[in-house]
């Protein structure tokens, strides 16, 4: 599998994609647990209960990550991938920063958006 799939590129793209999705609150779908229903659009109906964006944020990271991991493995020489290591030191903090932006209102008063 690793002949056709770069594990390192997958990590970077999935992490950055998730951080972006959280930061701008972009999701490809929402889940409404009260009615057990997925929706590609924000239904904005209080009778449906709370909407969950988390699964959609993860999808925003994972979908391009799979594509880039395959193309990157075929297109990039290993020595280029070997130079990516500093990015793994930064990635957790990027995701934490995006999460802080999304969730800080729980600490600073009022529920998050």
């Amino acid at each position: 599998m690793s002949r056709f799939f770069s594990l390192r590129l997958f990590t970077l793209v999935a992490g950055l994609g998730y951080a972006y999705a959280v930061y701008v609150n972009y999701t490809v779908f929402r889940y409404y647990p009260l009615v057990k229903r997925f929706s590609l659009t924000d239904l904005a109906d209080k009778t449906l209960g709370p909407a969950m964006s988390w699964y959609g944020w993860i999808a925003v990271g994972l979908i391009p990550a799979v594509i880039v991991a395959v193309i990157g493995k075929l297109a990039l020489p290993p020595r280029v991938l070997d130079k990516l290591w500093p990015a793994f030191w930064v990635l957790p903090f990027v995701i934490l920063g995006a999460g802080w932006v999304r969730e800080k209102s729980w600490l600073l008063g009022g529920p998050a958006g």
């Binding site: 594990l7 992490g15 889940y31 057990k36 709370p50 699964y55 999460g99 600490l107």
Partner: protein
């Protein structure tokens, strides 16, 4: 069924925390005779834990993601009604920290099982430490909130 899944989620977390903590401490260990308890604790073949950590983390994440809607409807709503916003923040942080661990897994596996063990030593240590901290945070916060819900 959901109680069974919550307990299974906890049990897998405990197995995971054992494996990743052994490996995390071992990754920072310098070669020396293991005399004290802490030395014996980390005197393990660290690379041998990588596959188990990946499988346990993925399984634990999947279980957590499956039972998460129930938390949103039941626990989070109760906490919000009672004004436990700080506790909700900690759980929301768990949501993002769990994803940090998930996306780091492929790179983690690469540096432990594909890259030569003599290279990228600090990166391997860093990723393993991040994963270990993610698992500890998630277990502690999940456990506290589960207990807190029982008191509401």
């Amino acid at each position: 069924m959901i109680v069974f899944l919550v307990i299974l989620h906890s049990l897998v977390s405990i197995a995971l925390i054992g494996a990743i903590t052994h490996q995390g401490f071992s990754a920072w260990r310098r070669r020396a005779p293991a005399v004290a308890f802490i030395d014996r604790f980390r005197a393990v073949p660290a690379s041998g834990y990588a596959a188990a950590v990946v499988v346990l983390y993925a399984l634990d994440f999947a279980l957590g993601a499956y039972i998460y809607p129930l938390f949103v409807l039941d626990v989070k709503a109760s906490l919000a009604e009672s004004g436990f916003n700080k506790e909700i923040f900690y759980f929301q942080a768990k949501e993002h920290i769990a994803v940090i661990g998930l996306v780091m897994l492929p790179a983690y596996y690469h540096y432990w099982r594909r890259a030569p063990l003599g290279e990228f030593v600090m990166t391997r240590r860093f990723i393993t430490t991040v994963l270990m901290l993610c698992v500890w945070w998630n277990l502690i916060v999940g456990h506290i909130l589960n207990n807190l819900r029982g008191m509401l």
